[in-house]
């Protein structure tokens, strides 16, 4: 499907109809479209937080305003993801390590093609220490940024594949499902870290 076709398809959709169908699918157990929409919004939140010039209300700082706006999305996403019969999972350290090894392999692949920037080299070093279960003292902020970047990237990927999901709603979409699972493990790890405060 070309980008023009995608644009025409998206323009033809009625938001009320899409919302109704995503909700109805979720009540029938196919909660991938609904969770994907919420995931895309969470990725949007992370992008908004990086917009320094954003000024929306005279009596609120941008970050306060956005955090208030989007806290509801994260809360309902977590409730539904944890309650999902298809996507709920109890993650353990080995799950997170496996995921982070796959992230690290992307850095290694990129470096094999050419030198990385200083920032990416630092991120890669942090990932190597984590997968080796070594101390992370002092590197929590870098790891936190890596996770947020991963969440934004996966939100973007989900948004690219959502049109196909909407075309075939009611059918299983493996691409969206696999990216949603990848998003979920990063989201849960980020939540876990935020709750534990171990990197504060």
């Amino acid at each position: 499907m070309g980008s023009d076709d995608t644009a025409r398809f998206l323009a033809s959709l009625d938001p009320e109809e899409v919302e109704r169908r995503a909700y109805e699918e979720a009540t029938k157990g196919n909660d991938a479209p609904l969770l994907a929409f919420l995931a895309v919004s969470i990725a949007d939140q992370e992008r908004f937080l990086g917009i320094e010039y954003l000024r929306l209300a005279s009596d609120q700082s941008p970050h306060e305003y956005i955090l208030k706006k989007f806290s509801g999305i994260r809360e309902i996403f977590e409730v539904l993801a944890r309650g999902s019969k298809r996507f709920a999972k109890e993650y353990r350290t080995e799950d997170y390590i496996k995921m982070l090894k796959s992230v690290l392999s992307r850095y290694e692949h990129a470096r094999a093609k050419g030198p990385l920037s200083e920032g990416l080299e630092k991120e890669m070093a942090v990932l190597k220490r984590i997968v080796a279960h070594k101390s992370l003292e002092g590197d929590g902020d870098i790891f936190y940024d890596i996770l947020k970047k991963e969440i934004v990237d996966l939100g973007n990927v989900l948004s690219i594949f959502l049109p196909n999901t909407l075309r075939s709603i009611g059918e299983r979409d493996d691409t969206v499902e696999s990216n949603l699972k990848a998003f979920l493990i990063r989201f849960h790890l980020l939540e876990h870290i935020e709750e534990s405060g171990i990197f504060d």
């Binding site: 995608t6 644009a7 998206l10 959709l13 938001p15 899409v18 919302e19 995503a22 909700y23 979720a26 009540t27 909660d31 609904l34 929409f37 919420l38 895309v40 919004s41 949007d44 992008r47 908004f48 917009i51 954003l54 000024r55 929306l56 305003y65 956005i66 706006k69 989007f70 509801g72 999305i73 309902i76 977590e78 409730v79 539904l80 993801a81 944890r82 309650g83 999902s84 019969k85 709920a88 999972k89 109890e90 993650y91 353990r92 350290t93 997170y96 390590i97 984590i130 279960h133 070594k134 101390s135 992370l136 003292e137 929590g140 973007n156 948004s159 959502l162 876990h192 171990i198 990197f199």
Partner: protein, 58 residues
């Protein structure tokens, strides 16, 4: 500090059909805003102030 979460975290959530009336209303508001944002954000270039002004979440 080492990276260890070996105990995991038991999922404690609700399926859509188990939400309270207030939670369901909240979900519809959030979902509608998410759908609107998705459909109107093509290509995904942000006009932040317009996007946030259109958001129904308060």
């Amino acid at each position: 500090m080492t990276f260890e979460f070996s105990q995991g975290k038991m999922p404690e959530g609700k399926a859509v059909t188990e939400l309270s009336e207030a939670e369901e209303q909240n979900l519809h508001s959030i979902l509608r805003a998410s759908v609107d944002r998705f459909l109107e954000d093509r290509p995904r270039e942000l006009n932040a102030s317009e996007e946030m002004a259109a958001d129904v979440l308060v």
